[in-house]
Amino acid sequence: MRSLLNFLARYNNLIIFLILEGIAVYLLATGNTYHNSRFVNGIRGVTRGIEEKINNTRTYLSLRDINDALAGQNVALKNKMETMVKKENPLFFSYTDTIYKQQYLHSSAEVINNAVNRQKNYFTIDKGSLQGIQVDMAVVSDNSVAGKIVGCSENYSVAMSLLNLDFKLSVRIKTNGTFGSLSWDGRNYRQAILGEIPQHIIVNVGDTIETTGYSAIFPEGIMVGTVSDFEKTGGDFYKISILLKTDFRKLHYVDIIGNMKKTEQLDLEKLFK
C-alpha cells in the first residue's frame, strides 16, 4: 500500500498528464466531421455572442463590396428574366414549375463563423433544421461552389468548406465536358487541384470548371473556377491548378440548395453497386 502511495506521489504529474491527454485525444478522435459539427453547435452558446460581434463588424466593413455584388446579381437576374420571358423557352417551364418538376430548392443564409487558415475548414450558417436545412445540401455563394452541409442544429448548420482536405467534388471542364475530381491541397485558399483529367484532353489556361451533378448534391453547371495553371506529371493525368471563383475570406451570404430527387437517385444507384 505504501509503495503504491509512493508511486502515485512520485508520478502524479505523469498521471494527471495522461488522464487529461486521454480526454483530449478522445475529443479529437470523436471529433470528426459529424461529431465535430455537433460539438461546435453544442458549444455555440458559449462563444456565440463574441462571434456575432466579430461578424457584425466584418459585415459592416464590407458592406460596399456586398452592395456591388448584389447590384451585379440583380442586373444579371433581370437580364435572365427578360430573355426567358421573351423566348418562352419550354425548358424554363420545367425549371420553375412548382408542382410537377421542380428538382432543386433554394434558400439563402448568412455565414456567421468561417475559417480559411486550417487544413480542415468549416463554416457555420444561421439557418438550421427548423428552417428546412438538411445534411448533404449544397452551399453556393454567388453561383459558385462554397461547401456542403455536414451537421444541423435547430437554428444553425455547419458546412464543410471546399477548403477542407476531406472535400471531394465531381467537376468537368466546360468546353469539352471531361470530368475529374476536385480537391483542396491545403496550401492556398484561392486555389484547388483538379485531378483525373487524362493527358490527351486539351486544356487551356482560363478554361471554366463547373460541377457535373453526378454526386446528387450539387446541381449541374455551377461554376467552381478557372484553370490557372497545368502541368503534365509522370502519370497519365494532368495536375491542374484551379483559381477558385469563391473568395472564402469574403464569404458572407450563401445560398443553400437541396436536391429533392436525391434519395430517388441514390436508391436507384444503390441497386447496381
Binding site: 494527471i16 480526454i23 470523436t30 458549444i43 458559449v46
Partner: protein, 168 residues
C-alpha cells in the same frame, strides 16, 4: 496570492481575446498561423505546482478549441506544452538556479535565456498542434515547414509583447 490570481486571470483573458480576434485572422499563404496564446504557459510562475500548470494549460487549450471548433486539438497540444515546461526549465536553468518567487520573464533572465526557453516550448506546442491538425504523415515536410514558419512568427510576437511589458 490573490493579486497574482487576478493578474494571471487578466493575462489569460487578454491572450485568448487577442488570439481569437487578431492572430487567428492572420494568414499569409496558408503557411503561417501564429498561436500566441501559448505565451500564457510561458509566463506562469516558476514555482507553480505542476498539477496546476497541467490543468491550466488544458483549460487554455479547451477554450481555444471552443473558439476554433476543433475538439481536442488545442487542448492536447497545449497540455503537452504544459507537461514539458518543467523539463525545459530544468534544461535551460541559469548557472545559479532560479530566483525564488520569480516568473520566467525576459526582464528577470535576459533576452537570450527567454528566447531559448520560448523556442523550445513553442516548437513542442506547434509540432503537436499542426501534426494533429493534418493527422497524416503524407506531406510530412510541408507540415514541418508550416510548423517552423508559424513558430517563428509566434516567437516574434511573444518577444515583441515581452519588450512592450519591459517598456512599461
Amino acid at each position: 496570492m490573490i493579486n497574482s490570481i487576478f493578474r494571471f486571470g487578466l493575462i489569460f483573458i487578454l491572450l485568448i481575446l487577442s488570439q481569437v480576434l487578431l492572430f487567428s485572422n492572420i494568414q499569409f499563404s496558408g503557411y503561417i498561423n501564429p498561436y500566441v496564446y501559448v505565451m500564457f504557459i510561458l509566463l506562469l510562475p516558476i514555482e507553480i505546482p505542476s498539477w496546476l500548470l497541467l490543468i491550466l494549460s488544458f483549460a487554455l487549450g479547451l477554450i481555444m478549441d471552443f473558439f476554433s471548433g476543433s475538439p481536442g486539438m488545442h487542448s492536447s497540444a497545449s497540455l503537452l506544452a504544459g507537461f514539458v515546461r518543467p523539463y525545459v526549465l530544468r534544461l535551460v536553468s541559469p548557472r545559479d538556479g532560479y530566483e525564488p518567487n520569480s516568473e520566467p520573464s525576459m526582464i528577470t533572465y535576459g533576452l537570450r535565456w527567454f528566447l531559448v526557453y520560448t523556442l523550445l516550448i513553442v516548437l513542442v506546442h506547434h509540432t503537436a498542434l499542426f501534426y494533429l491538425e493534418v493527422f497524416r504523415f503524407t506531406d510530412f515536410f510541408r507540415t514541418l515547414l508550416r510548423v517552423i514558419l508559424s513558430s517563428f512568427f509566434t516567437i516574434v510576437f511573444i518577444i515583441l509583447i515581452e519588450f512592450y511589458r519591459r517598456g512599461k
